[in-house]
Symmetry: C2
Subunit: 717 residues, 2 copies
């Protein structure tokens, strides 16, 4: 019986992948534009493919070594039939594939979107949205496929030892972190470098073909915003799914749950329920996407919002069907369904918050534009404080989601805390189930950004740039939304994963009298992660530090690489005669090479910090400190991430608002100040901010994978 | 017998205050300089006094109302003889006095320092250091006096109900927060406004008398960096002292401590021990200060460091005497003494970290200066990432201090956790005992900053500015040190206060069967602040949010006020003929008024957030969430504070490094970029960053004051 439900999930995943193929064929059938546009698009595509190939050659061997270590030190020790190592490989491989396919689609969509923009807003919007849709469906399709197949293959192992599925999450999040970090450094080294010399010093427009860094900049959009974001959202979906599955297995093994509920969950219902929510999200995303049509004339953000809400409503309806299928008309089923609704509302709520703080229709961005009148410094301060401010409503959404979803499960189960947490994890899963539509709306951003570049470089007729510019501004907001979406899921998933972490720790300790003695516990007493324990506090501080320290590497890497890029562009402007008159061609390859080299070299330090710190804390200070670290990293990480992603998008759109002619428009000191703010915001929003999500997930999954070993070998309790 | 020890503390406090008077007389005996210098100094002094008087008129009534509320709702209910309300009033009054006296001294020292700078570095250094010494001694003298007298008056009440002493800390921290916030907004509105128009647009030097905002800028240094910092460090000292006293009282009431220790603490030794550490710090600070002499010719930072180390060594020796006096040759005494040494080492360690990240002798600041070559944006990114990076070594110091000091107490007491925390609190107290010398080194900064202004405005001969500039750069680093010092103490004290908080909660619940039922506890079971509880998690998130949200108000306030200031200065440059030629006098008063009005008006929102949030969380979500909030605010707050204060100082010194002639020196685009970074760093380091310390302390003390009421009336558990 439960096998059937798992197959439904596989079928749902395949529907998503088939739909992605249909969209892709549709996109490829569109007009690619004139030869100049094709030439530019090809150059960008080749650069992006070359970078990803080089990157995979670097991280492939690393992943292989880790897989072997996992097999030897985890699988062979716990007798899990290779499940953890296999999960790691599957998770990592699908992460790499999702990133690659996403990138490959978006590079192919951008010249076509530029061409479509010549026909009007609706055509460009529809095409970019479909290109994004390919990526969205690939991400959620592969995510759901991987988790479902793993579940079908290893369900008995999972039930007896739930954390074996964590390998899948660790593989997904490790590769996603690599791609996020390297992609983020690549794209912003090029972007910042290009902007500083091009826009600020030479006074040439963005994406001007005379700028030697322009191809690198466009490649960056694809490897950072598309491949990096795709891998990132994919791992969010996977990690959240496995968190729910682990919790479901823990609930199944909990002897204290009321019999009315116990009788409902005899056939792995709690494990397949999240997978069916994923299917609901895929179907909702497909159907909601049909709302975006060529006839749209204005307010693209509003139209995308409507599509999102339609998807959400459809998903909720299918969620209800799934709930009924598994739990009938029980109160328990209704409660879980209510939690799923909470999760869907979270998506809409954070979307509204991100829109308010990052769109130039509202006060915050206008405030930044106004502050640009008095210098780059006041622009910085206005943007930074806007980012700080945006943390508050985001936190309110997060806190309400936790409290409401928890108490729904807690109350329906007669005060069972584990079911409370399971209920929260269902809200998280319902949030992530909308990945398809969210990614469609998001990847739309870099596609139009690239289309914008092609419009400029190919020197298309006036009027086209206005269309792509308007869509690009919307893209800034939707990118901020997706980042908030991913970070929110990281915060919510961390609660579930922490529950799994501590219960694994305690089950292991309880099973051995020598471990009980080692941890100073008497029979029946469990290790409590309480705030009065100094190791928990120390762990919280170390965890709280990590997002700050990790970000320092990324921003510094961008700064260093941008510095080199600026000097290279300045050199070319000086040494290549005729470049400014458009008579000589700049050396694009040199700039691509600077970005590529920087991205791969600068990856090592932050990646090591993310991987080594939890292991070091776990093995030296023990599971209490490691538990503190997991929560501490979320407590500071979510706010740092909200700050950086919202401030970055707000700066970008404040600049665009001025470019629309406000405060004097382009080529004024006000615009120059806004360009500076946008430049600072670039690594905030596209490098450091989004990487925090991957960081949190890596910390979570690596800790879960190594928890049993850590409990055995920790030096200090 | 114990009364005697309390009297030793009073005597020590009086020694500090007497020494402050001697230093003050010495300072006042120095040459005030020529009539022009006196005129400027008088204008600054009047502006600063006028602002503080206006501010006290605003916050006085607020404090009075709170005192009455405390008396009615806390004192009358718990029968504490008015101790909480009296403590609140004493704490608040001394905070206001410490700020006022500090400000009054520094305004009087600056013109004399400018005059002394004409005689050479050593003379100026010695005088500024003595001026700072007045402030340092006033702060620690009043701090110790207040706590000691309160202890002498209420020791029996404290022993039966330790949290009554929290009123003293609440008063001190509330007023300190008001002064920090308003002073910080005042000073940076003026500074940022003056710099943007003066240095960047008009191209006139800093502190040029033609700049209409110059007097406001100098007033700001005094009300922000002197009065604000004085009140802030005063409350750090007070809050830390009361945290140790509360913990000492809890240890005295703990029946599980070994009899070997119980026999040593029959006469309130644990309560007076922190006070005697304070006396040791006062004596160490006085004696170490003698090292600073007029014969010093170069490397002022190195000389100040040596003075600090001498003070630290002397304090440790006297700490040993105090330990021997109270605990004889017991292992317990040695253990506490070892913790005190840990605390003293913390001061030296964080001083080294702040020096490394903010002094232009080292790589980080040089990296920022180098990055200024490619625009304000790269300068900004370099500074911001440097600030992020500085959080890591600071965290290492913090974590090691917690672990080592805790395990010292835990081990010597045969695994008593409460004594472990007491031991950590002793380390914190030993750290804070060096307030005297730390403040001398710190207040030295704004004094030379003001002296610098007077040198410029009075048009003193060349060569003098070089002396004051060099000292000013050192002042930037020492200011960063003091902020790190204050934040570190907030983090350490928060652990002690949390222990007091949770034990008060549990004692109260255990004493009533109806409360036991309300909190779903059975006899002998206590409320556990565990990370698996969703309310604790929600509290952690709300706490983690607060430093971010609170900072947003402060930075936005500075941005808004600076915007007005810039427009006013631009207006005066345009409308007052002859102003740029030095023929017409600018309207200084208008700029002073903009800062004053902004500082007082913008105080309300952040102050309300700091006061209302913990009460709301406590009364609605209950003590579990409030406990989470306390720890969450520290976990994110310390790193945000380190980031902002270190980045701010690093930007300032990168600018100074360029002004020394590096990368082309003044009047180059590189310098302009560095000025932008410095301008952004101003509200980071002098408004938002340091205010986080006050925020954390207010959250802590208000929660302790209201904890018993919250336990009774919380809506949700």
């Amino acid at each position: 019986m439960s096998l059937d439900y798992g197959l439904i999930a596989v079928a749902g995943a395949l529907i998503g992948l088939v739909y992605a193929s249909i969209l892709l064929l549709n996109v490829r059938a569109q007009d690619k534009g004139n030869p100049r546009m094709v030439e530019i698009a090809d150059a960008v595509r080749q650069g992006a493919s070359a970078f990803l190939n080089r990157e995979y050659k670097v991280i492939g061997p690393v992943a292989a070594v880790i897989a072997i270590l996992i097999y030897v030190f985890i699988d062979m020790r716990i007798g899990s039939n290779g499940a953890v190592a296999v999960g790691f490989i599957v998770g990592a491989a699908l992460s790499a594939i999702a990133g690659y396919v996403g990138m490959a689609t978006t590079v192919r969509t951008s010249s076509r979107t530029a061409q479509a923009a010549r026909k009007g807003l609706g055509s460009a919007l529809t095409l970019a949205f479909r290109g994004g849709g390919v990526m969205g469906m690939v991400v959620i399709g592969f995510g759901l496929l991987g988790v479902s197949l793993f579940y079908l293959a290893y369900q008995n192992v999972i039930i007896s030892n739930p954390v074996v599925i964590a390998g899948l999450g660790f593989g997904a999040s490790l590769i996603a972190m690599f791609m996020r970090v390297s992609g983020g450094i690549y794209t912003k080294a090029a972007d910042v470098g290009a902007d500083i010399v091009g826009k600020t010093e030479a006074g040439i427009p963005e994406d001007d073909p005379r700028n030697p860094a322009v191809i690198a900049d466009n490649v960056g959009d694809n490897v950072g915003d598309c491949a990096g974001m795709g891998a990132d959202v994919y791992e969010s979906f996977v990690v959240t799914s496995i968190a729910v599955i682990i919790l479901g297995a823990l609930v199944m093994g909990d002897k204290s749950i009321p019999s009315s509920i116990a009788s409902l969950i005899t056939k792995n219902e709690l494990l397949v329920y999240p997978l069916l929510l994923g299917v609901a999200g895929i179907l909702g995303s497909i159907l909601g996407g049909f709302y975006i049509r060529k006839s749209i004339k204005k307010n693209p953000m509003g139209e995308l919002n409507i599509a999102l809400i339609i998807s959400a409503v459809i998903a909720i309806i299918i969620d209800f069907a799934a709930t009924y299928l598994l739990f009938g008309t029980s109160n328990f089923g209704y409660a879980l369904f209510a939690s799923a609704i909470v999760g869907v509302i979270v998506v809409i709520a954070i979307e509204r918050v991100a829109d308010y703080f990052t769109s130039y229709k509202y006060k915050p961005v206008k405030f930044i534009a106004e502050a640009s009148q008095t210098s780059a410094a006041t622009n910085f301060l206005a943007g930074f404080s806007t980012g700080l401010q945006s943390t508050a409503p985001s936190a309110v959404v997060l806190v309400l989601a936790i409290i409401i979803s928890y108490y729904i499960g807690y109350t329906v189960s007669g005060s069972n805390a584990l079911i409370g947490v399971y209920s929260t994890s269902i809200a998280t899963m319902a949030e992530l189930s909308l990945t398809g539509i969210i990614m469609s709306i998001d990847a739309f951003g870099p596609i139009t950004d690239n289309a914008n570049g092609i419009v400029e470089m190919a020197g298309l007729e006036s009027g086209v740039r206005e269309v792509t510019d308007e869509l690009d501004a919307v893209g800034n907001t939707t990118k901020a939304t997706t980042k908030a979406f991913a970070v929110m899921s990281a915060a919510l998933a961390a609660i579930s994963i922490f529950e799994a972490f501590q219960s694994t720790v305690n089950n292991q300790i309880q099973a051995s009298t020598s471990l009980m003695a080692k941890y100073h516990l008497v029979a029946g007493q469990s290790l409590s992660f309480t705030l009065t324990d100094p190791l928990v506090i120390v762990g919280l501080f170390i965890g709280g530090l990590l997002p700050f320290y990790f970000s320092s590497f990324l921003i510094q890497a961008v700064g260093r690489a941008a510095f080199k890029m600026v000097n290279e562009v300045r050199r070319q402007f000086k040494e290549i005669p005729g470049i400014m008159e458009g008579k000589a061609k700049p050396d694009y390859a040199k700039c691509v090479d600077i970005s590529t080299t920087a991205a791969l070299r600068e990856l090592a330090a932050p990646a090591l910090v993310a991987v080594i710190t939890p292991l070091l804390v776990g093995f030296v200070l023990g599971p209490l400190a490691l538990g503190g670290l997991l929560i501490g990293s979320v407590v500071s990480g979510v706010f740092l991430a909200f700050l950086m992603t919202n401030a970055g998008a707000a700066w970008d759109n404040a600049k665009k608002y001025i470019e629309l002619g406000n405060y004097g428009g382009k080529k004024t000191p006000v615009h120059a100040a806004a360009v500076m703010g946008d430049t600072v915001g670039d690594p905030f929003k596209d490098t450091a901010g989004p990487a925090i999500n991957s960081l949190i997930k890596v910390l979570n999954t690596i800790s879960i994978v190594f928890v049993t070993t850590i409990v055995l070998f920790a030096l200090l309790v």
